[in-house]
C-alpha cells in the first residue's frame, strides 16, 4: 500500500511525535508513506470565503502533486486534513473556485478534485483494517481506559469530511479497542478545545479544554488520544488537570505495535 503523505508544518516542529510514530507504525503495518516533495503549509484553517483563492493554493498544489503521483493523499494532522479535504471539495463542486484556482496555478493539467484525501485513521480503518491491526499488536494496552478526543476538524462539516458520523463517531473507539484498551465514551469528545483562541485569549481556551477533560475524567478515562497538535497543546496546557494523560493516537499505536 503506497500513499502520498502530507505531514504539515507542525509535524515537523512541535508535533514531531505525531509524525514520527505515525511513520514507524505505517512501516510496521506495511504502509508506504511517500512524503510529497515541496509541500507548503496548508494555512492551518480552511478559508471559508468563496472569494478566498490565494489561501487555497497550497492545498491544491499538494492535491495536484498527489494526483500526478497517481496515489491517494494521506494526512495525519487534523487541521491539515480539514483544510485539504475541504479545499478538495471546493475543487470538485465549486466551478468558480476551481476555475480561478486553476487560472492562478497554471498547472499542466488543471486540477478538478481527482485526488482522494484520506486521514491516517481512515487508512487504518479502511485499508489496513482494525482486525489486521489487532493481529499485529504485540503489547496490547489492556486495562487502559482511553477516551477518544475527536475535536472539530476531523468530523466537521460532516457533509464534506465524510469521515465518520459527526455526532456519534466510532473510528477512534474502534482504534482503541484494536490496540487492546477500553474506549471511554463521553459527550464532549467532539466539542472544541478552544483552538487558536489560545493565542489571544487563554481564558477562553482554558474554559473549553477543561470542560472536555472534566467530562472525560468523570467518565473514567485515564488517557485521551488526539490527532491534532493544537488539541494536544490545549488539553495539556489549558485543561487544568494532570490526572488524565493526553497523547497522540500514533504514539499509543506505536506502543501497542512494539515499535516505540
Amino acid at each position: 500500500m503506497k500513499f502520498s503523505y502530507y505531514p504539515g508544518c507542525t509535524l515537523k516542529t512541535k508535533g514531531k511525535d505525531l509524525d514520527r510514530y505515525g511513520r514507524l507504525c505505517a512501516e510496521a503495518l506495511g504502509v508506504t508513506l511517500a512524503e510529497l516533495p515541496d509541500w507548503q503549509c496548508c494555512g492551518a484553517v480552511y478559508p471559508m470565503a468563496k472569494d478566498e483563492i490565494a489561501t487555497k493554493l497550497s492545498a491544491v498544489r499538494a492535491l495536484a502533486s498527489s494526483r500526478d503521483e497517481g496515489t491517494e493523499l494521506v494526512t495525519l494532522c487534523s487541521a491539515c486534513h480539514n483544510v485539504i479535504k475541504q479545499v478538495n471539495h471546493d475543487m470538485q463542486t465549486d466551478a468558480d473556485i476551481a476555475l480561478r484556482v486553476n487560472n492562478y496555478l497554471g498547472l499542466d493539467t488543471p486540477y478538478t478534485g481527482e485526488t482522494t484525501v484520506l486521514h491516517y485513521l481512515e487508512v487504518l480503518r479502511d485499508r489496513v483494517g482494525f482486525d489486521a491491526i489487532k493481529a499485529a499488536v504485540k503489547n496490547p494496552l489492556t486495562g487502559r481506559k482511553i477516551g477518544a478526543y475527536y475535536g472539530c476538524l476531523l468530523l466537521r462539516p460532516g457533509k464534506v469530511m465524510r469521515f465518520d458520523d459527526p455526532e456519534n463517531p466510532t473510528i477512534l473507539e474502534d482504534f482503541i479497542r484494536a490496540i487492546g484498551a477500553e474506549p471511554v465514551i463521553y459527550a464532549m469528545r467532539n466539542e472544541c478545545c478552544g483552538g487558536y483562541i489560545a493565542v489571544e485569549d487563554k481564558g477562553a481556551a482554558v474554559k473549553r479544554s477543561s470542560a472536555v477533560l472534566d467530562n472525560a475524567a468523570a467518565k473514567g478515562a485515564d488517557t485521551l488520544v488526539t490527532a491534532c497538535p493544537l488539541c494536544l497543546y490545549n488539553l495539556k496546557k489549558n485543561g487544568g488537570r494532570d490526572d488524565v494523560a493526553v497523547v497522540y493516537f500514533t504514539e499509543l499505536l506505536a506502543e501497542a505495535l512494539g515499535v516505540k
Partner: protein, 664 residues
C-alpha cells in the same frame, strides 16, 4: 365530415377583457367543418349550456369546441351537456383561452390571435375524434385495509358498517398500532387505551371484518373493482384457533431477555408473548429469533403448559389469495431514529428518551407501571427538558432530518409537560421550541393551560448539546428572546423526534403503483379536492401514510376514506376511462416493447390467426389491452415501432393535427 359548433365563452370579463371573443367566434366560424360559431357571457351557466344544447339540436352538430377556461375546470360540464343532446361526450374539446391566454397576456391583438390558434387546434382535433364508449367492469364487494392502527380500524369499521366485507392486514401480532402505545390523548387527556381498545374489540367481533394479524401483503394485481392480493400469514407457531390468550405460556417461558418492542425496548418480554393485555387477536406468538426450542430443539415448556395444545413449533407461513374491489393504505408512521442526533446524547445516556418512549414511561401498563422514573437509575426526575423539532422542518439538503413539520409534537409535548407537572408538582419542566403550532380545536387553549396553569417553562430557542456527567444531563441551549445561552442540569431529556412513513410504504407504493412524494408519503389524487384517494384508481389513503396527522384528523380521514371505498363497493359495475390504449392487431408485431413500459400490466399477448397471401393462414403473436386496467398514459404508444398501439382520445393523428394547426 364533422359538423362542428364553436362556443366562445366571455367568462364575464375574465376572457372578454383581453380576448376579442367576437373576433374569435367569427374567425373560427370560417374553419372547415364549423357550421355554427357563437360567443356567450358564461358558457358554463345553465343558460350557456342551454344555448349549446339548442345549437346542437338546431345545427345537427356532431362535434363541439368550447373556447373557455381550462378543461380541468369544465370539460365534464360541457361533455355532460352534449351527451344530453345525444352527442358522444368525447366529441367535445376545450380550447383553454382563459388560463392559457386571457389571464397571462395583456395585449388584446396578441391574445386574440393566440385564442384563435388554440381554437383551430381544438377544431382540428375534433375532426379526428371518434365517439368513445366507456367500458364496464364488475366490482368485488370486499375491501382490503393495509395496516391495523387507528386509521385502518376506523376505515374498516365504517366500511363494515355499510355492509361490506373488509380484511385488515397487519404486520405485527396485534392490531392497535401506535395509538395502543400512547398514554393519554390531547387535548382532552382521555386515556388512549380506553377509547381505542373498544374499537379493536368491535373490529374483532364484527362479522364483516377479517383480521389478518401477523401478516404481510405479498403481491397485488388487478385494478379498481378487481384486485387480487396475496397475503402472507406469518407463522406464529401458535394455532390461532386453539389459543385462548390465557397467557400461561408467556409467564412460564424461560427466555426472559427479549427487548419488548411494545415498550420501546425499555423492558423485556419473553420469547413467547402477547404484546399487551388488550391485544387483538389475543393470541400468543413465538419469536423464533429468541425461542430456545426453535433454536436448539430443547425446551418446549410453553407446549407443556398450554392447556389447549395450541403450540405448534412446525407451523409454516401460508400465503392466501383474496379478491378485493378497493384497497386502503393505512400504513402509518414511525418516529425517526434519534441516534443520528447524538448531540442530544441519545446514544450516550438512557435518560435521553424519545417522546414515544416517554409515553411508555408514563403509561400505567408500561415498564414502570406509570410512575415516571429515569431509565438509568429508576429515580424520580426533577428537571426535565423537552426538545422540539428533532429532525422536523429541516432544509431539503439536510441529511438527518425531514423537510416537513411533524405536526403532532407541539401538542403531545404540551400534554406530556402538563401531565408531569400535574402528577409531580416538584418537577421543573422546560420546553425548547422554535414555534408552538396549535391549529386545532381547543389546541391553543390546551397549550396555554400548560404555560399558565401548570407553569411549564416554554423557551423560544433550541438545545445545542447535551452532556451527561455525574448522573446529570448538562443541557446547553439558547434562549433567543433573552439572547442568552442557558445551561440546565436536567435529569431527563425528551426528544420530540420527527415522524416518517413506515419503512414498508415505499415498496407498497410500488406494488400498488400508487404515487408517493419524495418523503415517501402517499400522494393524494388532488391535494384539496380528493385528499383520501390515491391517483391510482381503487387505492385509498387513510391516516399518516398520506402526511402527518393527529388522532382526530386521522379518524376523520379514515372515515372519509371509508366513504370513498363504500362509493366504489356500492356499485355493481364501474365505468372505465375510455381514453385507453388499443392495439391494431393487423399492425402488431408482438414484440413486447409496449408490455415492458406498461406500469399497470394492462397488456397481454395471444397467438391469433391471420389470413396470409394466397389463402394461407399465418399465426402471429399480437398484443391486446385490457381497457379496465389501462389508465391511458400512452407510454406504450411510443414504445411501439409499428404504430399498432394508439391511444383513444389522444391518438397520433389527433395530436399531429393539433401540432399542424398550431404551427400553421
Amino acid at each position: 365530415m364533422q359538423r362542428i359548433g364553436v362556443f366562445v365563452c366571455h367568462c364575464g370579463t375574465n376572457i372578454a377583457g383581453t380576448v376579442d371573443v367576437v373576433a374569435v367566434a367569427k374567425a373560427l366560424g370560417q374553419e372547415p367543418g364549423v357550421v355554427f360559431s357563437t360567443e356567450y357571457q358564461y358558457m358554463c351557466s345553465e343558460s350557456g349550456q342551454q344555448l349549446m344544447r339548442a345549437a346542437i339540436r338546431e345545427h345537427k352538430l356532431t362535434g363541439v369546441v368550447v373556447c373557455s377556461c381550462s378543461p380541468r375546470m369544465h370539460e365534464a360540464t360541457f361533455r355532460k351537456a352534449a351527451a344530453l343532446e345525444g352527442v358522444n361526450p368525447y366529441m367535445v374539446e376545450i380550447a383553454n383561452i382563459r388560463e392559457h391566454v386571457s389571464w397571462i397576456h395583456k395585449d388584446m391583438a396578441e391574445a386574440t390571435e393566440k385564442a384563435v390558434i388554440l381554437g383551430r387546434a381544438a377544431i382540428a382535433k375534433v375532426h379526428l375524434n371518434a365517439p368513445l364508449q366507456a367500458g364496464e367492469s364488475p366490482v368485488t364487494k370486499r375491501a382490503l385495509v393495509i395496516g391495523g392502527g387507528i386509521a385502518g380500524i376506523q376505515t374498516a369499521l365504517d366500511i363494515a358498517e355499510a355492509g361490506f366485507e373488509v380484511d385488515i392486514v397487519e404486520k405485527s401480532p396485534t392490531i392497535g398500532g401506535k395509538m395502543a402505545q400512547l398514554d393519554k390523548t390531547f387535548p382532552t387527556l382521555d386515556c388512549a387505551a380506553c377509547i381505542l381498545t373498544p374499537k379493536m374489540v368491535d373490529a374483532a367481533q364484527n362479522e364483516k371484518i377479517n383480521i389478518f394479524a401477523y401478516s404481510e401483503l405479498e403481491s397485488v394485481k388487478g385494478y379498481i373493482g378487481n384486485f387480487k392480493a396475496q397475503i402472507r400469514r406469518k407463522a406464529r407457531f401458535v394455532d390461532e384457533t386453539k389459543c385462548t390468550g390465557c397467557g400461561i405460556c408467556t409467564e412460564k417461558c424461560p427466555q426472559k431477555k427479549v427487548p419488548n418492542e411494545f415498550n420501546m425496548g425499555l423492558d423485556n418480554r419473553r420469547a413467547i408473548y402477547i404484546p399487551f393485555a388488550q391485544a387483538v387477536p389475543k393470541v400468543a406468538t413465538i419469536d423464533a429469533n429468541y425461542c430456545t426450542m426453535m433454536k436448539t430443539g430443547k425446551c418446549g415448556i410453553c407446549s407443556k403448559v398450554c392447556g389447549t395444545g395450541a403450540i405448534d413449533y412446525t407451523q409454516k407461513d401460508t400465503v392466501i389469495e383474496r379478491e378485493y374491489g378497493a384497497i386502503v393504505v393505512a400504513t402509518g408512521f414511525n418516529p425517526i431514529d434519534a441516534k443520528v442526533y447524538n448531540e442530544y446524547g441519545y446514544m450516550d445516556s438512557p435518560d435521553v428518551v424519545t417522546s414515544l418512549e416517554l409515553e411508555r414511561l408514563m403509561n400505567a401498563a408500561g415498564p414502570t407501571n406509570g410512575t415516571l422514573l429515569r431509565p438509568s437509575d429508576k429515580t424520580h426526575p426533577h428537571t426535565i427538558v423537552f426538545v422540539q423539532c428533532v429532525g422536523s422542518r429541516c432544509d431539503e439538503t439536510d441529511e438527518r432530518g425531514k423537510p416537513y413539520c411533524s405536526k403532532i409534537c407541539c401538542m403531545y409535548t404540551a400534554k406530556h409537560a402538563m401531565l408531569i407537572r400535574e402528577k409531580y408538582p416538584d418537577t421543573d419542566v422546560y420546553v425548547f421550541y422554535i414555534d408552538v403550532r396549535t391549529p386545532g380545536k381547543n389546541f391553543d387553549e390546551f397549550y396555554r393551560r400548560a404555560v399558565e396553569q401548570y407553569g411549564v417553562h416554554y423557551i423560544k430557542g433550541q438545545v445545542g448539546k447535551v452532556v451527561e456527567q455525574n448522573g446529570k444531563l448538562h443541557v446547553q441551549a439558547s434562549d433567543l428572546l433573552a439572547n442568552e445561552q442557558l445551561h440546565i442540569d436536567a435529569d431527563l431529556v425528551v426528544l420530540a423526534t420527527a415522524i416518517e412513513p413506515d419503512k414498508t410504504a415505499r415498496s407498497l407504493g410500488t406494488m400498488l403503483t400508487a404515487s408517493m412524494d419524495t418523503n415517501d408519503f402517499f400522494t393524494e389524487a388532488h391535494p384539496k379536492l380528493r385528499p383520501v384517494e390515491s391517483p391510482t384508481a381503487g387505492i385509498f389513503l387513510s391516516g399518516v401514510c398520506q402526511g402527518p396527522k393527529d388522532i382526530p384528523e386521522t379518524v376523520s380521514q379514515a372515515s372519509a376514506c371509508a366513504a370513498k371505498v363504500i362509493g366504489v363497493l356500492a356499485k355493481d359495475k364501474l365505468t372505465c376511462n375510455p381514453c385507453v390504449a388499443h392495439s391494431d392487431e393487423l399492425l402488431c408485431n408482438g414484440c413486447s416493447s409496449c408490455e415492458k413500459v406498461c406500469p399497470y400490466g394492462a397488456i397481454s399477448y395471444s397467438d391469433k390467426e391471420f389470413r396470409g397471401p394466397n389463402r394461407t393462414t399465418l399465426i402471429r403473436r399480437v398484443a391486446s389491452v385490457n381497457p379496465a386496467v389501462c389508465q391511458g398514459c400512452g407510454a406504450c404508444t411510443v414504445a411501439c415501432p409499428s404504430g399498432a398501439m394508439d391511444l383513444k382520445g389522444f391518438s397520433n393523428k389527433q395530436i399531429m393535427a393539433e401540432v399542424d394547426a398550431i404551427c400553421k
